[in-house]
Symmetry: C3
């Protein structure tokens, strides 16, 4: 699940950068940032060495995603079609779910307060894409309209609830990921939005 998510996020970030006219380095940076940025900030927030820099697996997958995006971008100039395809949206929701569960796990391991666990689930899941948006000079789309971060927050809550009622860590993480994925897919189908204030 993590690998699917890293690929989907890297493709999304790279295509966004390509649409914005960045050069090859910029496309690679935004792809990697979208895939690994949330997890890196998560690790920094709990004062541990970022897995993205101390291991090679995640970065390799992210770079494969960048390469895939470059190939796709040359073949299909209309990137919107790729990003709106069912295959992409499902992969992206899988990533959202996997990242939220990982964030909740890391937060619990680090001894954070309940709020902190929920924040870490959301930061891990939507942080990378948000930073990529900021680098492109845009207000992150998750803050404006997409029902995308809310599943991650609710998933963090589900994780906490499962832990409180005594579920083992693995089950709690699975319940979190399941809820995030289901809510995200429902939100896409029903076009859910949060109200403006």
């Amino acid at each position: 699940m993590n690998v699917v998510g890293l690929l989907a996020f890297a493709v999304a970030g790279s295509l966004k950068a390509s649409d914005a006219g960045l050069d090859l380095f910029g496309v690679a940076v935004l792809g990697v940032l979208t895939a690994l940025g949330g997890g890196t900030v998560r690790d920094v927030l709990v004062n541990r060495p970022p897995a993205s820099l101390t291991t090679t697996g995640d970065m390799t997958v992210a770079l494969v995603g960048v390469a895939l995006a470059v190939v796709l971008a040359r073949r299909a100039p209309e990137h919107v079609r790729i990003l709106d395809s069912r295959a992409f949206l499902v992969s992206d929701a899988v990533g959202l779910a996997a990242f939220a569960a990982t964030g909740a796990l890391v937060g619990t391991d680090a001894g954070l307060a309940p709020y902190g666990v929920v924040v870490l689930a959301a930061v891990t899941a939507v942080g990378g894409g948000s930073f990529a948006d900021v680098f492109l000079g845009r207000v992150p789309v998750v803050l404006r309209e997409d029902f995308y971060a809310t599943p991650a927050l609710l998933g963090g809550g589900v994780f906490l609830f499962a832990r409180v009622v005594g579920a083992p860590t693995g089950v709690s993480a699975g319940a979190c990921a399941g809820v995030v994925f289901a809510l995200r897919m429902l939100a896409l189908r029903r076009e859910w939005r949060l109200p403006q204030v």
Copy 2:
């Protein structure tokens, strides 16, 4: 003082986000970020677990501020009036003073160099609002025109001076907060500005 500051900062961030057309999640994120962002970056810079994630008090106060802002935003569509009211400006200056003093204290505890203590006072005080501005795609207002960060920098200097002449920590922090608050209120009354370069 800290609670007043957290509330004022959360209200300011939330109203700014509401004016920018963000949805409920975005309004909550910007409110929380404005209130807790400076302290979180301060803690990350000195390699300690962020108080915003390991405790529940600060986040609760920030969320109360967000809720307050949502109520205010629905009642009074002209947010400028709220943010220009005397009650808000005084609360905001109290927060600026409290946050600068906390930043200077944490910097001293962490064994930073004098520059580092002053930087940490300023980052704690104006970091959250600046990051919120960046997320909204704006140049942080403290970098452009407001006489807002300068009191925090000078307050950090006062803290250092008090420590050098042998004042106890509590007195140094109080002197820092007092100077920041007085300078900020004076700056508002006299419309002080720094020159452009």
Copy 3:
């Protein structure tokens, strides 16, 4: 070399801020951020106290750079001429080389994976300027068109290669810095660019 780089980066950041109409505080922040931001994020990523806050030397040099920029800005309103001068471009390339080598060294010391060492070389070298661009609401120029980050990435690779073939640390760092400087000067002369995607 480090001092030359800090000065060049601080001047570049300050002049950019002055052109954007920031006030004196904003000019100082962007100058300091450009000079010290990359190294600070590097240190945070490997969980060590940022040298920019625990020592006084680097910050002093950065502030001298800011003061220099203020004097230059008042004398020569056309900052482009300063930033396009040969003296500035060489100093800036020296900084790029020194910062990339320092980043690679810190990454190796911290036990990062090979990718991590290369990323840290690039973050140290181009991070400060990129954050300054983001604060000004711009897409970082290194992501768009300049052949500026690529030398730092390649220099990180040279450092790794030198270590693998058994070169002592000092020699590896020197080789890294030499390659970065040479590639950057060549890129300027030949107007190299990366392709868009």
